[in-house]
Symmetry: C2
Amino acid sequence: MYLEELGEHGLIRRIQKRFKSKDRSIVVGIGDDAAIINPSPDKSLIISTDTLREDIHFKKNFFSPSDIGWKAVAVSVSDIAAMGGIPRFLLLSIAVPDKTIVKDIDGLLNGVKDISTLYDIALIGGNISRSKKGITLDTTVMGELPKGKGRLRSGASVGDLIYVTGIVGSSAIGLSLLKSSFVYSTPSLSTSQLISTHLRPLPKVNEGIILSKNKLATAMIDISDGLLADLSHICDQSKVGANIYRDLIPLPDIHLKLKKRLAKEPLFYALYGGEDYELLFTIKKRDREKLEAIFKKKSFDITFIGEITSKDNGIRMVGIDGNKRIIRPGGFDHFISKSGGKIC
Amino acid sequence: MYLEELGEHGLIRRIQKRFKSKDRSIVVGIGDDAAIINPSPDKSLIISTDTLREDIHFKKNFFSPSDIGWKAVAVSVSDIAAMGGIPRFLLLSIAVPDKTIVKDIDGLLNGVKDISTLYDIALIGGNISRSKKGITLDTTVMGELPKGKGRLRSGASVGDLIYVTGIVGSSAIGLSLLKSSFVYSTPSLSTSQLISTHLRPLPKVNEGIILSKNKLATAMIDISDGLLADLSHICDQSKVGANIYRDLIPLPDIHLKLKKRLAKEPLFYALYGGEDYELLFTIKKRDREKLEAIFKKKSFDITFIGEITSKDNGIRMVGIDGNKRIIRPGGFDHFISKSGGKIC
């Protein structure tokens, strides 16, 4: 059945049925002119919006409808995580051609449902419209945050230590594998994980909450454009520079093993590959032990990779020999390097 | 200059400069991963999102960039008005081809700025991405509302009176004029007003606030799909029917004067033409005098057009002769009648 047979109102009823919520702070959810919520009175509200466009942000030959739904929500959730917020409410705008098969819409909604369930987020509204060509999903995620605890990009000072959660580069390597035929002939658990990082990223909400709760992070950002590009956003907004230690960048065995199959060095993907949705953050030097103890206890993976310097140092890579080299942050500008981004 | 030369970050800085806000409830605005606001603790938060896509919702030969920016915000503001909320914060997602002229982006931002200034709304964030073809604007407007005062579609009861604010059909007649060559050869103040209703609608925020503040409206919706279609949404969700009096539908002189130039009767545009962004609402019979006195005092235009009946009556048009005829609500389904809509 095509969407044009189900109709807009049929689709809205379908969504309404699938996304029932028992969240008592939702006064009015899907189905009226607007949604109404009662946010916690002692909290700040944190809001982020993002877009996923077919043939700009994803290709349908790599992404299943369910992956598209998942990732569209993940990218907005990650922005909430990057400030230390707890995601709570979702608005979803869907634009699809009328010749879309309802099964594909169901797949897409399944992906949205899966990630919403995992992160305990309620769909409270959105919009449906026709597109001439291609799928576009716009997501707005609203979250909560104790007042004054939001971690910004602008709080890093000279001497702060730079950390990253998890592994960087996996998403870009995953995409590279998807583009090659290799992945289909020899799938393995590890390569599947890299691909999954690209298709169904897991925003680091719990890590973000810890880093904001204890006011541990002085500055924080999620890695969507690439480690160096996102570091440069912190440096620009904090008016500082940074030294990054080349041999401290986490390069897991699976990245190194795949070296021969990749067009570039594993380090390249770690530094310039975006869409990992890990967190890059800075802390005061005196908080190092406290940070590492908390994260060890929770079994959350973090790696120390460098230090904040004065602005005139720029961003430098420190080699194993101790030589410092200014590096280009690179990264993703939607119009210059052909790819978009966040106003907030 | 093309957008690809200015770049995404250049554009973000341009937006940041133009949309500075002194609103003290904004903790973090444009420029970080997410926006942070402190909503009023005693109020509910009301949220609506909408999409404006080139060649689906508008054509560039009718709409200037500034009109596009205006209307994209207006459609979301109107949903806030339809529940009686006060619009306060805006998120704007822009998708444009990289060969877009920066002057056109400036025009678009001017339209957003104009309506934001008029309604006292602060731009707090959004997203920028590249599109392969055409402009798409996604707007999310957040507003405030005293707790328990939100007016829903579902509150109408048998015997309630049906009212509409302002004039209906002007937007559809304005579009019809734009499609003809007439408007260009003989522009007049009145035809300009009709066209302006289509290009730069004025959501009825103040009227909505009055109707919610006094809990006057038992049900309320904004007219985006068309008077009858939106009435049918109230009837569906309130589980009621309605009688509409044909001779009470407001048809101003200018609509009647243009009769010869239009493809259909003026009444057709009033009943089926959408995008007026007037409010359609119901009240208790006992509140009639109170309502009319309040609106007269404010010089806000409202018209009594019918009554709520039991569900099995359906929606009927009562002629001058008293004959009742069941009518098709018609209206706009994005996939059936080729056009999208709201999840919330």
